[in-house]
Symmetry: C2
DNA sequence: CGATACTTTGAAGTGTGTCAAACTCTGTGG
DNA sequence: CCACAGAGTTTGACACACTTCAAAGTATCG
């Protein structure tokens, strides 16, 4: 029996992975040859920050969190990747260890690419190199935004921005939170309790309505004002 | 009369720039041909976050801060670059606008590389592409660290880590702060007053001694414990 | 249906930001 | 070389956003 992903199994092919986009058929076959499948269970650790890396991953299905943990138990989620995204690529090109840890948020299928094999592919295929550069640049943009957000914005602003992001991703003002709220808090750089209280305040002011993991955006323009800091909660 | 930089004019050549490291003589000449020199005064704005980019820069001398500003006047310094570093490269490869702003911390000489010209060079020279990938990966590592630091560590921990970084860079336990303390605060994700108070507490506990912009590390192991969070201030 | 994971709420504590004022360097021009 | 202006720094009193700790409540899944 085939494994069933929580996220309905959209068709996956290597040529849909943006890292491999536009590559000639022949190169994609070569990539298929060197890719090593790996199945990880929900909650399973994939690698830890500081660990020596032997290669990187592409997500075939499921979702993976990239995070850093402090000794006091708090953790900061750096990013959440799902189908078609790569992760763990930094030590393929710079240094030897992973800068952050990775853990499966649900049962996920991964493809592992060995450092050496991949580097030799990239040498022969300039387009693959350019794809990689564009992806890394995009991640820099994201991370610069994250640094600024964490340091310059307060929790209500960050949460508002996050809800608007979800709305634009899901193309609807009726949102379904795909993650437990504790994980969302960790992504926003805060804790569960604070997130809960902030959501309640937003609901009290009728910016949103909330029933469990379902959130309705009632007043989008106010949410936008909150996100940009023009307005206080 | 030649312009005099505050940082004594170390010799500069394109082949010392890590982006261009290991390139054949011929390519370096081509780079020299397309590079446009630009002189910026202390405090001068080079570009703003959100602005359309036409290319990126390499620092020939001086120093440049990359930062994001909030409407309330607070700013977060993302990085400070000096001789041999590139900056503003993200929109060359992804998107069209700068993710952050850039301003000269002192009179600086820059080299500007036009987006289109550079992209055509990189297509012909795989080594240049690999250098770029390695540099971008290194920046991702830095930024991941910064996100984690801002969210997981308190000001004393961040400051301790910063002082240790300075000590290792300057290869001495007698430090000189190259920046005004307000700028350092902005880099650490806090404000001048808090930085001042934290430094005083460190001095009171005889972890450091401070005279103006000169700081002596008195107890390095305690500073390391502070940085790792094993110890409180 | 029961166990476990997740979420909410309250009360109290703490680190950091804000505002305002005084103080101290630093470099420049007289 | 001194005086001065402006930038940079320190300090205090206060406010407040956020975390911590603890407990109860609610979903969720096998």
């Amino acid at each position: 029996m085939e494994y069933q992903e929580t996220t309905a199994g959209q068709p996956f092919s290597l040529s849909n992975v943006s890292l491999f986009h536009g590559l000639p058929e022949e190169q994609v076959r070569e990539l298929t040859r060197i890719a090593v499948p790996r199945l990880v269970e929900k909650g399973e650790e994939i690698f830890q920050a500081g660990e020596e890396a032997r290669g990187f991953y592409v997500v075939k299905s499921g979702s993976i969190k990239i995070y850093r943990a402090a000794m006091n138990g708090k953790e900061q989620i750096i990013h959440i990747w799902s189908q078609g995204d790569m992760f763990g690529e930094v030590p393929v090109f710079q240094g030897t260890t992973f800068p952050a840890s990775a853990r499966a948020l649900q049962r996920s299928k991964l493809l592992f690419f060995q450092r050496k094999a991949f580097r030799s592919l990239i040498r022969d295929e300039p387009d693959l190199g350019m794809n990689m550069i564009a992806l890394l640049a995009g991640r820099l943009r994201l991370l610069v935004g994250q640094v600024a957000t964490l340091s310059l914005k307060e929790v209500p602003q960050r949460l508002a921005a996050y809800l608007l992001l979800l709305a634009s991703t899901q193309e609807s003002d009726e949102l379904r939170l795909e993650l437990p709220k504790g994980q969302i808090a960790s992504y926003l750089g805060t804790i569960q309790e604070t997130l809960s209280r902030t959501l309640r305040r937003m609901a009290e002011q009728e910016v949103i309505a909330m029933r469990g993991r379902h959130i309705s955006i009632l007043d989008k323009s106010q949410l936008e004002n909150l996100a940009s800091g023009q307005q206080q909660l």
